[in-house]
């Protein structure tokens, strides 16, 4: 228990990094976890090279796990290129989250990453791995 809601998770949940909206973002996508109603929208602004993430923000509502993991994701991807993020394995984010998750909660933890990959896929044509492709069709606006 104390593991699951360890201090760093609660810190990100209560003080989310990069929480907000970017108007006229270069890349944007919205995702929904229909099981629990978690909603995440991610906005990306690229730097002058049109490839490096200059600013990234998220808005939405959801459980502590989805909100905290998306907040952590914002810090992880800052300054990386769209291609790097498209190739970013989910394990990297899960390592950062650092708590054991059941299959149901895993979906919460990975929602933000999926939405970000879809946003980049749409804006930059970066590849979308099989597991997120279904998300693109079903749950993303």
């Amino acid at each position: 228990m104390e593991d699951l809601y360890r201090e760093v998770i609660l810190d990100h949940y209560k003080n989310p990094r990069g929480h907000g909206v970017i108007e006229d973002a270069d890349a944007q996508a919205e995702g929904l976890n229909p099981l629990c109603g978690d909603e995440v929208t991610i906005y990306v602004q690229f730097g002058e090279d049109g490839e490096t993430v200059d600013e990234v923000k998220f808005s939405g509502r959801g459980c502590a796990i989805s909100q905290a993991s998306t907040s952590m994701l914002m810090e992880m991807v800052q300054g990386r290129t769209a291609t790097e993020i498209a190739e970013l394995p989910k394990e990297d984010l899960l390592e950062e989250v650092g708590i054991p998750l059941t299959p149901v909660r895993l979906k919460c933890a990975l929602l933000g990453l999926g939405v970000l990959k879809v946003a980049l896929h749409r804006a930059k044509g970066t590849p979308l791995p099989q597991e997120w492709a279904g998300l693109d069709e079903l749950d993303l606006k």
Binding site: L4, Y5, D38, C63, R105
Partner: protein, 411 residues
């Protein structure tokens, strides 16, 4: 005549029949408050299934040998038990299915496709589980009929006044008890209203039958669906009761083995009720276990269960109010079954359920297969604690303590 007091229910004693409570969850005793999703199983049911497999198992209605006869007798015995359980006029009106969901789909397809069309209205309540919502929405679309919702008020009770706005209604579909809010619906009134207009009344009793006395003749409905797994029985089996004259007119739903009279290259004809609707090998042992489960619930007393759960609901509402920052949904305890849906201010239901799990308290968090209802309540999800004949007040105390802890960690 002497007034007979309803026999009281001794939950602590009944609890000993349920082996699941013998274990520890995260080192703590199990507080199981998710019986509305599915109930736990008493040893009597587990033993009946094992005994059936060990001593009587064979396919039913086929063999001329002793085992098949024994299996058929047990299977048909469960049908008679189901008939008695809902006070149906005849056992041939009771059809076994794979679930209450399949029971409703059977009616929606086999009755709906042939009896609905443009200009007809299908009226479903805002309280419905997706199982009594999606099939009707889909069949209405297929047939060109109009799909409409009967609204609820802010307490989660049906607005019967709104009935008068609807003409051309051919089907009214409602649950007996809402699985989300515990609302007990006035099905008798709805059925009378439907019949005055020549509509049929379809009742989803998946949540009602395990906790309230069901009498299809008193309800005055045309179809009633219920399931085994919420009623102390195994999963994978449900039942449909329907009026014989309607069932007889209906085309089959599934086709295949056992439901036929004769099969020729030119034409196939159907068997009699109830077999016309039981194609293929049914979940035989599960049907037998379902029968034992109905016997178990009847022996405890469905009315005693309803009374006891209403007391538990009142107690839970009281304890939750003491926690602070807890918003509850649904009607007052006297018009509510043993279900309490709630939200903790500022904390997502998944997080609430997760903290409670660490305390050994199992509740449901989500939309409870009622997305239209969640939208009406203006929430994405709720927490739900639900009770049954084995629930003890101590489990509700632990729920309240767990909520204090949740608020401390996440609030």
């Amino acid at each position: 005549m002497a007034v007979t007091a309803r026999p009281a229910l001794d939950a602590q004693k009944l609890r000993a029949d349920f082996p699941i409570f013998e274990q520890k969850i995260h080192g703590k005793p199990l507080a199981y408050l998710d019986s509305a999703a599915s109930s736990q199983k008493p040893r009597q049911v587990l033993d009946a299934i094992r005994d059936f497999y060990e001593n009587s198992y064979a396919n039913v209605h086929r063999g001329v040998y002793l085992l098949s006869e024994r299996a058929t007798e047990a299977y048909e015995g469960a049908r008679e038990t189901a008939r008695e359980f809902v006070n149906a006029p005849a056992a041939r009106e009771v059809i076994f299915t794979r679930s209450a969901t399949e029971s409703i789909n059977l009616v929606a397809y086999a009755w709906g496709l042939d009896n609905l069309g443009p200009g007809d209205v299908v009226l479903v309540t805002e309280l419905e589980h997706h199982s009594n919502f999606a099939p009707w929405q889909y069949i209405a679309k297929r047939t060109g009929a109009e799909f409409r919702l009967l609204p609820i008020d802010d307490q989660g009770e049906l607005q019967l006044d709104a009935l008068e706005e609807h003409d051309g209604v051919k089907v009214v579909a409602a649950n007996l008890v809402s699985n989300s809010l515990g609302t007990v619906n006035p099905v008798t009134k709805l059925a009378a209203w439907a019949h005055e207009r020549g509509a049929i009344m379809v009742v989803d009793a998946a949540q009602g039958a395990p906790h309230h006395r069901v009498d299809v003749q008193e309800l005055g409905c045309d179809f009633l669906a219920f399931s085994s797994h919420k009623l102390c029985g195994p999963s994978g089996v449900g039942a449909l009761w329907g009026r014989a004259e309607l069932l007889e007119q209906m085309a089959p739903f599934n086709l295949g083995g056992h439901m036929i009279r004769s099969v020729k290259a030119e034409e196939t004809t159907w068997g009699e009720l109830p077999y016309k609707f039981e194609a293929g090998t049914m979940p035989i042992a599960e049907v037998v276990g379902f029968g034992t489960a109905m016997d178990y619930v009847t022996a405890v007393g469905v009315e005693a269960i309803a009374d006891y759960e209403s007391e538990l609901a009142a107690y839970a509402l009281e304890r939750l109010a003491e926690v602070g920052g807890v918003l509850t949904y649904g009607p007052p305890p006297e018009r509510r079954a043993g279900i309490v849906s709630f939200n903790v201010e500022g904390i997502h239901p998944h997080d609430v359920a997760q903290v409670l799990d660490s305390e050994g308290v199992a509740i449901r968090a989500g939309h409870h297969c009622c997305q239209p209802l969640m939208k009406r309540l203006g929430v994405a999800a709720t927490n739900r604690a639900s009770f049954y004949l084995y629930t003890v007040p101590d489990e509700i105390d632990r729920l309240a303590e767990g909520l204090h802890k949740t608020r401390k960690i996440l609030g």
